[in-house]
Assembly symmetry: C2
Homo-oligomer: 334 residues x 2
């Protein structure tokens, strides 16, 4: 694989043009392109440029409404309802981040319930944007079925990320971003492509038995992190992201990865707590005490900290990818 | 061990009298007694009657202020601040549940930030009370240091429970209640008392190495469930329960288990989302779809469902405990 670099703005424009060439409205395309490029920069390649081809196909097929105009309403002082309109999730999140942080400044805490949505991509980015505005951010997002309820064998829940961010004084925000499976399903797909086995503990076969065969795993289910506890958290996310928002459950949603079927119509619930309106400056003092105590131990890094060096490198040297990926993007943009 | 039964109301009165005999105000004693008996009934014996002796000693020593009068203020429409006043947590939670559900009915979502608090006990009970009022409840509570940050070896975070509950139509509320360690620290203490080893994967020694020796484990740290992901969630809970509320971090708090030192002064953050004010009746329809899909699989039960049969049995036959425990409670109440 020949590596290649491209300036961040050029990468965003290239991805946006690819989406526009397949029927996406320019504003939606730019919002989506920025999110995918940001994920690629941060080292979340599975939520980055690798998605562009499939996203173009989904717009072209009408599975994603490229011209969707996300709508925001505020039925209660602390409650924002966002209709993503079967479009990409990112334009809906742009509106949700603005609306929920403004509401939290008044009420202390507010929530944005996003429905008729698509993949949230890099979950940490949405909460980080809230933290950069002085809010704690907490995101629950569901995804198509991949994990069984505890004791069962048939996938019902998605891998259902939880993301959390908190502001710090004079330091990058603390960002936690995790899916509730032991590993991402993409790792099983990659092993299957390479003809390799997978470690025990990643996945179960269709009868709910541990398997090291990626084909059996893909026909079965992913193991939740922390076993029964992780499965319970995945259930919590289905309630918060779907039952509460009007989104579809994991077992009702179509794939994020191909152009088949109707829109996935999953949901997301984004909470914001405005620190100035609630805990005040003392919060930032206490965050410093907490992070200092962690970093005083040898071998400890803050979650999400590897993104910072990657961002510096991308700003300085451009985004590092492959010639093949750039060629694919250029072909999609033609 | 000779088993014994006692009527639920008699058990509550006995525990309350034990606390009162050691200097606790009657209202605080009854609130605490009800919570401990409820945990015992629900099968969470570690948060039940076994605590009474230590709680009496903590009141007598002044570590817990038996006469504390918890205070509630509402600095923002959706933000409730609760000062537990170095008392037991349960009287503060009684006020918090009332105030946060009332606020959520107006604003859609609200939070109660509880500071100068003590052990929350059975975490699921607090959120279940919110669900029984038509709210989603979400609780973050921190506890004294037991787990190391990922990559480190020195405990900083508590085992930090997360609890979640959601109302269902015509059915008991869904309740999820989990601590973020693989197992409770009490299981290691019990193995130590019996002179047994512990399974690998439960705990680390003081150098951060896996250990099966309970003494080395107690000098070391508990393993977070889901490894790095669980450690990240424990960090999230420290931020929510302590940095946000004015509570102490796990590594600053004194023990919940003995009468030594000052008050633990941990914190709790309790969120409520009023379903009628937000998602409406459709939420209950969707909860039924989700739980029906789960229960259609052989071997699947809803989290927390074992408590229901235990409650029926206690209401019918009384609370089942041991003669030794009843004798201890009677001696404490004299």
């Amino acid at each position: 694989m020949t590596t290649a670099t491209i300036a961040v703005e050029d990468a965003e424009a290239l991805v946006a043009n690819a989406l526009i060439a397949h029927g996406c409205a320019p504003g939606n395309a730019l919002s989506t392109a920025r999110a995918l490029v940001a994920a690629e920069i941060d080292g979340q390649a599975g939520h980055g440029l690798s998605r562009v081809g499939s996203y173009c196909a989904q717009v072209k097929a009408g599975k994603v409404k490229g011209g969707a105009a996300a709508q925001v309403s505020r039925p209660r002082p602390g409650w924002i309802a966002v209709d993503a309109g079967h479009g990409f999730a990112f334009p809906a999140f742009d509106l949700a981040v603005d609306a929920v942080s403004a509401a939290a400044a008044e009420t202390g805490i507010a929530a944005a319930a996003i429905a008729r949505s698509h993949h949230c991509g890099q979950a940490g980015r949405h909460v980080e944007r809230l933290a950069d505005r002085g809010c704690i951010g907490l995101l629950f997002a569901n995804t198509p079925e991949a994990m069984a309820p505890w004791g069962g064998s048939k996938p019902l829940f998605g891998t259902n990320p939880i993301a959390f961010a908190a502001p710090r004084r004079g330091q990058p925000s603390l960002v936690i971003d995790l899916s509730l499976s032991v590993v991402a399903r993409g790792k099983v797909m990659a092993a299957s492509k390479r003809g390799e086995t997978i470690p025990e503990g990643w996945a179960l076969d269709a009868e709910g038995r541990p398997t090291t065969d990626p084909a059996a795993a893909l026909a079965g289910s992913m193991v939740p992190m922390g076993e029964a506890k992780g499965a319970a958290l995945a259930l919590m996310v289905e309630v918060m992201a779907a039952a509460l928002t009007g989104g579809r459950f994991g077992f009702e949603a179509t794939s994020f990865l191909n152009a088949e079927g109707g829109p996935p119509d999953v949901g997301q619930c984004l909470l914001a707590i405005d620190i100035r309106a609630t805990a005040g400056e003392a919060f930032l003092d206490r965050m410093a005490v907490l992070t200092d105590a962690m970093l005083a131990q040898e071998g400890v890094r803050l979650p999400g900290s590897s993104r910072l060096a990657r961002r510096d490198a991308a700003a300085r040297d451009g985004l590092s990818t492959s010639e093949a990926m750039l060629a694919e993007l250029r072909a999609l943009a033609e």
